[in-house]
Structure formats: C-alpha cells, structure tokens
Subunit: 407 residues, 2 copies
Amino acid sequence: MENLEPSRFFAILVVMLASAKVAGLLARRFGQPSVLGELLAGIVVGGSVLGLVDPHIPTIHLMSELGVIVLLLAIGMETDLARMMKVGPAALMVAIVGVVAPFGMGYAGCLAMGLGNLESIMIGATLTATSVGITARVLSDLGRLGSEEGQVILGAAVIDDILGLIILAVVVGMVEGGDATPAVIGLATFKAFGFLAAVLVVGGLIVPPIIRLAGRVDMPGTPAVLAMILALGLAWMAEGAGSAPIIGAFAAGLLLAKTDESHEIERAVTHLGYFFVPLFFVGVGAMVDLSALDPRVPGAGTALMVGAMLIVVGVIGKFIAGYAAPGFKGDRRVVGVGMIPRGEVGLIFAQIGLAKGVLDQAEFGAVTLMVVVTTFLAPPLLRLLVAKSEVPGPPDEVGIADLVSGQ
Amino acid sequence: MENLEPSRFFAILVVMLASAKVAGLLARRFGQPSVLGELLAGIVVGGSVLGLVDPHIPTIHLMSELGVIVLLLAIGMETDLARMMKVGPAALMVAIVGVVAPFGMGYAGCLAMGLGNLESIMIGATLTATSVGITARVLSDLGRLGSEEGQVILGAAVIDDILGLIILAVVVGMVEGGDATPAVIGLATFKAFGFLAAVLVVGGLIVPPIIRLAGRVDMPGTPAVLAMILALGLAWMAEGAGSAPIIGAFAAGLLLAKTDESHEIERAVTHLGYFFVPLFFVGVGAMVDLSALDPRVPGAGTALMVGAMLIVVGVIGKFIAGYAAPGFKGDRRVVGVGMIPRGEVGLIFAQIGLAKGVLDQAEFGAVTLMVVVTTFLAPPLLRLLVAKSEVPGPPDEVGIADLVSGQ
C-alpha cells in the first residue's frame, strides 16, 4: 500500500465530497433518493471508471469506516427503542426469514451450479445481511424512517446483521477446520446478541449521568466529543466481543438519545455526518469492480451466471421475508423491498472469503454483482411503492434525519 | 508501516479524544490554556511514555493533518481581513525580524558549535516559523484572539509561515546541489506569496456567489460541505503551488467569512473542530521523542547542548521581534511571547532535513527539544503577561472561538 501524502489525501476527499454532492443533487432532481447518486458517484470516481479514488488505500478505507460509524450513531439516536421493541416480534420474524430464505436458496443454487460445499455456504452467507446504512438512508430520503414499515425494516436489518455475524463466525470456524456443532453456533450467538444486550443495560445506567456531568462542564463541545468517544469506543469493543463495530455505534446512539444533552449531541453528530457519511457511500460505490463483470475477462461468464442467480434468490428471499411479520398492519411489500439492499456487509463477507482462499475472483465478482444490483434496485423500487402507498408515515424530524437523507 | 484495522483505528481515536478532553480540563483547572493539556496528553499517550498512539501510522498522521486544516479554516473565518490589513505593517515587521533574528542567531550558533554550513542553515530554518495553530489557540484560550496584539501575532505568524516556506524551498534546493541565487529566492518568494494573493482575489469573486447558490439548494448541510471542499481543495492547491496546505485552509476561512451562509458554515466548522482539532494537538504532542534527550543514548549530549542554544536564540529572536512593530500601541511583550511557539512547522522542517540526510538523529533531537520547550513555554508566559495587562481585548464571540479555545 502506498504512503498517502497529505495533499493527495485532501484531493481525494475533495473528489469524494464534491462528486457525492453533485450526484446526490442530480439523483434528487430525477426523483431518486440522493444516496443512489452517492453510490453511483463512488462507482464513477472509483477504480472501475475514473480511478480517482482507490478505496483500498488504508486511510480512505478507514475514513469510509468512520463514515458508517457516524451514520449508525445518527440512526441510533433517531431510533425510538421503545417503539422498535413494540414491532420487535415482527422485525425478528422478518430478520429470520430474510436470513434463512436467501441463505438456503443461495446455498442450493450454488451447489446446483457445481460449486463446492464450503464456497456455497460462504456465498450463501453473503446474501444474509441487509445493509442498515443504505436502507435507513433510502427510508429517510423518502420520509419513511419513522413509519411502521420503517421501524420493522430498521429492526430487522439490525437483527439480520447480528445473525449474519453468527453465520460468518461459524463459516470462518469451518474454513479453519472446525465443525459447526451446536456449541459453536450457540457461543457465536451468545457473543453477538450478548454484546448489544450488555451494552444497553450497563450503558443505560452509566451513560446518562456522565453526559449530564459533561453538560455542566464549562467547555463547549464536551457532550459532542463524549458522544464520539462512546460511539468509537463501543464500535471497538463490539469487534472485540465478536459483534460488529456498526452494532456498537448503533447502541451508542440508542443510549445517547435518552440523555439531557441529546439535542446538542444530535446537532454535532449531524454536522459531523455532513462530512463523514458521503465518504462512506462513495467508498462503498468505489469498491465495485466492474471489470470482474467484463465478458473478456476469464471467469466473467461464471461470475455473471452465478451473480444472476444470486440476484434472483437475493431479491426473492428478502421480499418474502416481508410477508413473515406476524400481525403487521403496514405494507408488507415495502418491508420486503426495504430489506433487499446488501451493501457493504455482503462485500465484507466476500472479502473474508477471498482472503481465506474459499472464494476465487469470479465468485467474488458474482457476489459484487449481487451487492451492486440489490443496492441499486431498492431505492427506485421503494420510491415506486411509497409514492403509491395510501398510508403516509409521520414526517421525519429535522436534525439527524436531514443528515441521513439530506446529503 | 502496519495496516491499521478499523477497530484499532477507533480505539486510537478514543485514546486521543479522551486524553485530550481530560488533560484539557485539568489544564484549565490549573489556570492554563487547555491546548497545553492537549499537547501534554499527546506526549503521555505517544511513543515516549505509554505508546498508545503512534503518530507515524499514516492514517493517524493524516487525521492530525486534517485537524490542522479544520483549525486554520476556523481561524481564517474568525479573522477580520480588513482589521488584519490595518495592522499589516506591524505584522510584517514582526514577521521579518522574527524570521531573520532567530535564523541568523541559530545559524551562527550552530557554526560556532562546530556544525557544517548546510546543517546550520537547515537548523536555522527550523527556528523561523511560529506555529499559527498553537499561538491562535493560546490567544483564544486567554480571550485575546481579537485584541490588537492578537491580530498582529496572527498576521505575523501567517507571514512567517510563508517566509519559512521560502527558506525551506531555497534550503532544499541547496541540499539538492543548487545555488541560492537571487532568481531562485525570487521564484520561491513569488510562489509562496503569489498563491495567497491569487486565491484571495479569484476566490473573492467566485466563492460568495457559489455559497449563495448552495444556501438556496434544498439540501441541508450543502454550505458546510462546500466549505470543507474549499478548505481541502485550497490546501491541496497550496501544496501544488509551492505554498503550504495550512495557508490554503486559512485562505478558505478568510473567503468564507464574508459569505451569506457564514453563520451556518461557522457552526458546522465548529462541530467538525470539536472532533478534529484535538487530534492535531495530541498528534503534535505524540511526535515528541523524549528518548532523543535521554543522556544514556549516544548523541544525547550534543542534542541537549545544541537544543539549549536553540531554545535561547529561539526565544530571544522572537521576543525582540515584538519590539520591531512600527507605531504599535499594544503590549509588545505579549506580541514577542506570542510568537515563541514553533510547533509542527519546525518539526516538519527538521523531518525534511532528516529525510534528505542533512541532519542526524542528535540534531533532529535538538530541534525537537527546541520545539517542545518553545511550545510549552509560551502558554504559561502569556497567561502571566495577559493577567497583568491593563488593556483587556474585546471578548471573543461564541462560535469558532469556542472551538479554538474551548476544547
């Protein structure tokens, strides 16, 4: 990896921010969510087209990671935990079906196309996790983050991230020669859910008094800095506890939403987000390697065929999950479509598979194709459904919603 | 350089932010500017003591660089260009004497201590540039950024950064075998000042209408993102034009201060600064390598002796510069002391000398010692003088001043 000069770093940030802003505005002009524009901007400035932004440069990758941390912190602050608990059973069922169905169909599809058992499991795993970040941005772009559908989707997306992590832990254990015994699966499950539960219980006791104290300190910005320390600290601890950094940042947001200084923190997080969040979406877009799908490249044929299969089962598997919610009164199609985008989590799984030698470049290309198509399919589809929907959700508040939607 | 994992990156940011916050609060408790606490926090968490933060990890270094860009953007927005022009002649004289005197005395001192001609010139050059960032923070911590002394110091610090760049360009040319002809010096001077002048003239025409347009766009955060794009873009261009990135960011602040959306931008920059600016000061502190001054290390004796000489001429050279201002009515001692801290610019020059093979580790250690002592000397000295001063400056406005002072 090359050593990045400060001035080149600044130039790359300029390209990422400016392209995100221009493409986001254009997307809105065409009635699409601005996040779609930002993702497309990433593809254009990334290695596949202009080559201005290399998301594999460590610092650029880390800035993008910081972007998703700020985004999940913002989403956590925007989330009403009590209300999400109320839709909990619905979200849980949507998450479980939305993990099991695409995983099972993807696994079977890969086997049917002649892939090995371990590769098929690994590829199936890339289909499980809905991208919380992209889904939340799309919902917010459409003013539906606060609707009942929005709450179910958000809850299910968080839960399926955790389920995806459990599958990943088990799969990586199998790759490294272990067995998928109930004990292994049980431990992975305990770690992944246990972290979130422990943080919410312990944090619920200690975070509010600390923030109250910070609000009294005669140094402006103290609550905002504490919020970032909490989000980054929990992101770090989540990784260590076998959960995912974004779950830690989301938990930080849930905890901070209930504090005395939540308005001040929300303002600060929003302003940080204006800068950081586009870096995440452009970074995700820039990770797309279009050349893996170039018919002249060896393996592109397989990549395209496997990819097409993954897209079909990936879309169907999440769409039917929308119908799994018990006693849900809202529009099940919106829930199903809202669960479709896979985004960065699928790519992260696929990269681990590539690094462990389980997947080859063609299979990695197939997963990339699935991630790109599912991510880009959801915003316009959702736009179509919501425009036709008879039950408008409550409008989002100004503040973090601006950030999540407004870029 | 190792590849930084996201979760470790988050952990390092937590250490930097938390130590800066705690040490900043402690410094204030003891009546010192909080920036002093942040610098000390950097030494403690850096490689010399706890080893938690390695400022040479590329991404950590770049985050720190981003911090100084945000800081100079904030300082530029806080600066009243018209008022600075009024103290222009005073600032120019302070800058010139404050560059020539320490450079000449340092050069002569090094020669007298038996160092070679090129080394002596290089070390002399490290004495020239006052750290705008540290000085501005100290002044603001003391509520004197808006005073006449404050304006002269700020103006002189910006000018001597530019003069330092000219010297650096000439010295690097000499190291690479060129001669310091008047033509070479003239070109370096033209490049360094020409950039700032060109940016202020061209930017003054095109920035205000662009920001006015951005303010009308129905996407919150647009002016704030444009401000960051401008600051980072000018920082990048400054480097390309032979000036320094911080001059570009400062120019961006001057331009943005006069736009319709300046209040919105100021709020956004302040919030970004709460996060980024401490990363810069902790990063500067963490760069200090105390082991170069350990008497058991070979060369530490020379480092200590040369370092002591540099401290003496470095302090005297800048202090007498305070008396060079023509027709200045304020407290000349405040101006002289305010110019003392060298900070990152001296370290950057010394690192270039080390990289080019002109300086050895002991000489680098001597410069480090000078930078540390001058940086740490100024805040308490200034505190002493200003407490006794009879003419209080106007209080700083809330907003960016909070950021520059309030951490």
